[in-house]
Structure formats: structure tokens, C-alpha cells
């Protein structure tokens, strides 16, 4: 049985079910990220693990002990909240040691732990301050410190970075990652930021409307999304989802699309399995990530299946390190990510090169990926 086992868990408020039979097992030392749009039930699930919400159905167990009816203070869990929830009336030091104090740990030991953690997080010089006197990033570290001193079985993070500005967020992300690599602790981490999800996790659970849409490693989720929701949710800019028709071509399969001027475009697919073949002649949705559409120079030299494609450019967005180019395929806006210096102009046609290695195909009805 997994270290933290969420078994068939359901949650209802009144008669509205907001979580539907969620089934996730988290192994010791794993970094599980829950990701999904606002209101999909991430916080609710986290709160149930922490014991802050009642469990309507199913069981949650930690280290083989069912904790459904265990008071939050008895679960040996540490949690970092979105708003940090630092106690404004206590100093940083008191904030960090409060939990130990509540657990009756003697003062010398508390002091020693505090010193250790403060050093680790580089907040030694802040220990006497009140939270009101800290910057966002410092608060975040204090909140983390409060969790770290506890040495809990499981760490829970509820969108701990969403209050920070972009720059700080990147820094803190790296720090959390390093921390996990060093401590090998078991972490469940909620975010709705897909970059955070992809960079931090060992596994990701993508949620939507109370359902777990996909549970897998970041690579699985990014490269083989289970359905169109996952495909469009993960990655920024998100995957281009283009209506196409499946055709036979050159002995393999190809997707037929319409260019900006109505020209027919055929893109050969790398897949050729029987499942996919059954869609021959039928409409499908072709999923291509923006970074797979570039110019001839920018294309990945290890790509096996690249194809050229000439189409009209609608908008160009130079963004320093990259230039985003918007074109349209099959009547839908399609974003391509190019190098910064690429010579591309809005209103003119351009020779795109598409890397089809990682293109995926979805059933337009069920929206699920067609597994080859």
C-alpha cells in the first residue's frame, strides 16, 4: 500500500459533489503535484488529507493508518498555505517554533531546530521580526520553515507561490525543488501554474471539475496527454488543437488541414496503429505544441519527422528570448514558437517547419487521446 493512500475519496457539500471518487497513491519521497483550473477541487482534496475537511466517502490513509477520523493536529502533517497564514502577532521565530511548542518539545531542542532551519532558509537575521515586516518571498520562506521544523510524514503545499511576483516565483520554485531533493520528503503540492507543476513534480495529477483527468510523470502528461483538457491545460502557450481529417498517405497516416488561404495541407503522422486507423476519413483533432512549429533553422536536429508548411502570419510577438507567431490552420489560431531573431512579418506568408514526432491525435467526440 502506498505511503499516502487516497482511496476512492468523494466529497460533497450538501448535495453537490465536488470531488468524484479520487484515487491517488503517493509513495514515500514522491513529489505529487495537483494541478487544475480554479475551483476544480485541489484545495478541498488537500484539506481532506490534512483533516481540515470531513471526508464524505472513501478513505485516506497515511503509513497504513486510516486517518479519516483523526484530528488534524494528530496526523503528523505539515502544511504551507497559499496566504502563508503566518501568525501576525508572533515573531518569525515564534511562528516557526509554535508547532513544536504545541507538541510539547522542550525549549533547547526547539531553539536548535529553529537555528538549523533558519540557516537552511537563510532567514537567520529575520527571526525577531513580525510577519508584517517581511517581503513576500521572506514570508514564503518562513511559512516553509514552519513546516520544515516539524519533520512530518507528509508536506502539503497549497499554491504557496501564487502570491509572489514572477521573478521571485522562479527563485522559490528552484529552492523548493532543491529542498525536496535534499530532504527526500513526501510532498503533495497544489498549484494551477503548469510550469510549476512540470518543473517540481515527480508525478502530476491533473484535475478538472472534481475528476482526476490524468495521473503521471511530467513527461507523460506533457507528451501524451490523456485528453484535450490536459493537452490544453499543460504547457504555455498551450498546445494547438487543430481540426483535421485522417487520411492515408505514403503508406502511413496523415492529417489533412486547411491553411490560412484555404490551401490543403497534409501532415504525415508518426503513428500508424490500428486504433488510429479506424478513424480513417473521419474528423480528428491534431495536437501540436507551439515549440514543434518553427522555421527551418530552428527545428530540432534530432527530430525524425519534420515537414514544411507555408502559411500566412497573422501576428508576431517578439518576447525577448523567443518570438511567438500566430497563424491559422483549419480556421483556428495556431501559435508557433520561434527563435528571437527569426525573420517573420505579420501579413506575409512564411515557411513553417513542423516537428511531427510528438504530435498527438484526439477523438473530437470523447476528447480523449487516440492511443495508437
Amino acid at each position: 500500500m502506498p505511503f499516502l493512500d487516497i482511496d476512492n475519496v468523494t466529497k460533497s457539500y450538501g448535495n453537490v459533489e465536488v470531488l468524484h471518487r479520487v484515487d491517488i497513491g503517493v509513495e514515500e519521497g514522491e513529489f505529487l503535484v495537483l494541478v487544475g483550473p480554479s475551483g476544480c477541487g485541489k484545495s478541498t482534496l488537500l484539506n481532506m488529507i490534512a483533516g481540515l475537511e470531513n471526508i464524505t466517502g472513501g478513505t485516506i490513509s497515511i503509513k497504513d493508518r486510516v486517518v479519516n477520523d483523526v484530528h488534524p493536529s494528530k496526523r503528523n502533517i505539515a502544511m504551507v498555505f497559499q496566504s502563508y497564514a503566518l501568525y501576525p502577532n508572533m515573531t518569525v521565530g515564534q511562528n516557526i517554533t509554535f508547532g513544536m511548542e504545541m507538541h510539547g518539545i522542550p525549549k533547547p531542542e526547539r531553539e536548535q531546530k529553529l537555528a538549523e532551519v533558519a540557516k537552511l532558509l537563510q532567514i537567520e537575521q529575520l527571526l525577531a521580526r513580525k510577519p508584517g515586516q517581511l517581503s513576500g518571498g521572506q514570508r514564503q520562506r518562513v511559512a516553509m520553515g514552519r513546516a520544515l521544523v516539524r519533520d512530518p510524514d507528509v508536506f502539503l503545499f497549497d499554491e504557496p507561490l501564487s502570491n509572489l511576483d514572477a521573478k521571485l516565483r522562479v527563485d522559490m520554485r528552484t529552492e523548493i525543488k532543491k529542498l525536496h531533493q535534499r530532504l527526500k520528503s513526501t510532498i503533495v503540492y497544489v498549484t494551477h501554474d503548469q510550469i510549476e507543476a512540470l518543473t517540481l513534480s515527480t508525478r502530476i495529477a491533473v484535475m478538472n471539475k472534481g475528476y482526476v483527468q490524468q495521473l503521471g510523470t511530467p513527461k507523460e502528461v506533457y507528451d501524451t496527454p490523456a485528453n484535450m483538457f490536459v493537452a490544453s491545460f499543460m504547457g504555455s502557450p498551450s498546445m494547438n488543437l487543430l481540426p483535421a481529417t485522417l487520411r492515408e498517405a505514403n503508406g502511413g497516416l496523415a492529417a489533412e488541414l486547411t491553411g490560412a488561404e484555404g490551401q490543403q495541407i497534409m501532415l504525415n503522422l508518426s503513428q500508424n496503429g490500428p486504433n488510429l486507423r479506424s478513424y480513417l476519413g473521419k474528423p480528428v483533432i491534431l495536437g501540436i505544441r507551439p515549440e514543434a512549429i518553427t522555421d527551418a533553422d530552428g527545428v530540432d536536429r534530432n527530430a525524425k519527422n519534420t515537414q514544411a508548411l507555408r502559411n500566412m502570419v497573422h501576428v508576431t510577438e517578439p518576447a525577448g528570448s523567443d518570438t511567438f507567431v500566430e497563424t491559422s490552420l483549419s480556421g483556428k489560431a495556431c501559435i508557433a514558437r520561434m527563435r528571437a531573431d527569426v525573420d517573420v512579418h505579420a501579413g506575409q506568408p512564411f515557411d513553417f517547419v513542423v516537428n511531427m514526432d510528438k504530435a498527438v491525435v484526439f477523438d473530437p467526440e470523447t476528447e480523449d487521446r487516440i492511443v495508437d
Partner: protein, 299 residues
Amino acid sequence: MARSDRAPQDMRTTLQNWLPKLVLSPSLAAMMVFVYGFIIYTIYLSFTNSKMLPSNEIIGLENYTRLFGLSAWTTALINLAIFASLYIVICIAIGLLLAIFLDQKIRGEGVLRPIYLYPMALSFIVTGTAWKWLLDPGIGLENTMHLWGWESFKFGWIKDRNYAIYTLVIAAVWQSSGFVMAMFLAGLRGIDNEMLKAAQIDGASNWNLYRRIVIPLLRPAFLSAFVILAHLAIKSYDLVIALTGGGPGRATELPATFMYSYTFTRNQMGVGAASAVIMLMGVAAVMVPYIYAEVKESR
């Protein structure tokens, strides 16, 4: 760069700049006359030989000397100290207790809250008689308990010189503690839920949660409650008149009743004014730091 074409301030801009001050000025003028003007006038009166009506004969500090020579004034001050400290402490304690209890997702909160609050709606002109009855051992609680068979029950404080002041506290607490409850409840509802969750995760029992986290967080509510109660205590008048009339003897005289009786029934307006000035100084001692903090905070 041609600076000469700098446009003169147009009418509208000028008007818009002056309007706020203009609109504020009636209130300010009213305040200056009706509050501060009157305070200055009272201070002036306290130095005059005013008896029944104001007089202009200055007699220096004589009124103050007299005031502090009066044992009734000393009694009133001592009474105020006892009354105010008990009243404030008990109101805050009960208000906090009820607020915390009411905040536990209580069924029937909607019914209980108005019950706790309604005494604030009633003046002692309305409830005075009922209170007098309740506290009167002959017809009130004591008598009722006796009728119900609890013969040894004793509750005759209002008739006892040494205890009457506490009956004032009971009635005053009855009137204001619900309001204090509302203030604390508002404060509690304003506390970030995540903080409470965090403390539980930290292992705090409910007791520790309140003692260490919630109550310290209610500081602003404590402050507001303290200020409101303190000024109510200093101004308490109706209460005394309705319940004890200052008796037994003068055991429940407070500065407010003292001031009123010297100014209006004893025709010693000068002494009354002097006592009013002392009271105002008391109010100021409590209020000015609070107002300063209130104003400071917004900067």
C-alpha cells in the same frame, strides 16, 4: 519648450479642489461651536461663581477646591473606578465568550444574536423599572426564588451600601455585553481561516488555538470595545438614576450624576462645571491616545 502656454487653472478644477473642504466645513463649524466651543465655555464656567444660571464673576480655582473637598465627589470617583473596571472587564469577558461560542457554527445563531443585542436598543428609561424589580429583594429575584422554594437564596445587593454599585455593574453589563459580542464576532469573522487551519496543523488544541492565535488577533476589536465601554462608563447616568437614584445613601453616585445634580438641582453650576471639566479630562485621557492611533494608522 514653450512654458508660456501653461493653461491657467480652469474653473472646474478650482471648484473641485475646494468642494470637499466646503462640504466638510458645516460639520467642522458645528463641531467647533457645539463641542469645542461648549467645552471652552464649560471650562470658563468652572472658574466663575455660577449658581443657578451662568454668571460672569470669576472666582479662580475656588470651585475646584470645593469640588475636591466634597466627600461625595471622592465617593463618585471611587465608585467610577470600581464600576468602570468591573464593567469593562466583565463586558469584554462575556462578549468574547459569547462571540467565540457563537462562532462555532451554532444552530440558531440567527435567533440568539438579536437576543444578545437587543438590550443595546433599550434605554434604562424603558427597562429601569423592570431592573429595579428584579434586583429588589422584596419582589424580585430573591422573592421569586423563595416562592419557588429556595429559601436561603439571598440577593439584596441593591439595598446594601457596600454592594449596590455591583448591581449597577450587572445591569450595565446586561445592556452592553451583547454589543461587545457583536464587535468580537465581527473581528472573529474577519480572521483568515487559513490561519486557524495552520494552527491546527501545527498541533494546537482548540484551547491553545484561541489563547495563542485568535485572541491576540482580536486586538483591534479589544481596543474598540475598550474605548466604547470606557466612554459609556464615564457617561453612565440613566442607569444610576433608574436603578438606585444614587443610593442607598450616596453609595452609587458617579461623576455624571454628581455633575448633573450640582449643576441642575443644587444650583451650584460652578462646581458642576468643575466636575465636568475633570470628567472631560478623564475622557480625553482615554480617548486621545486611541484617536491618535486610529488616525495614525490610516497614514
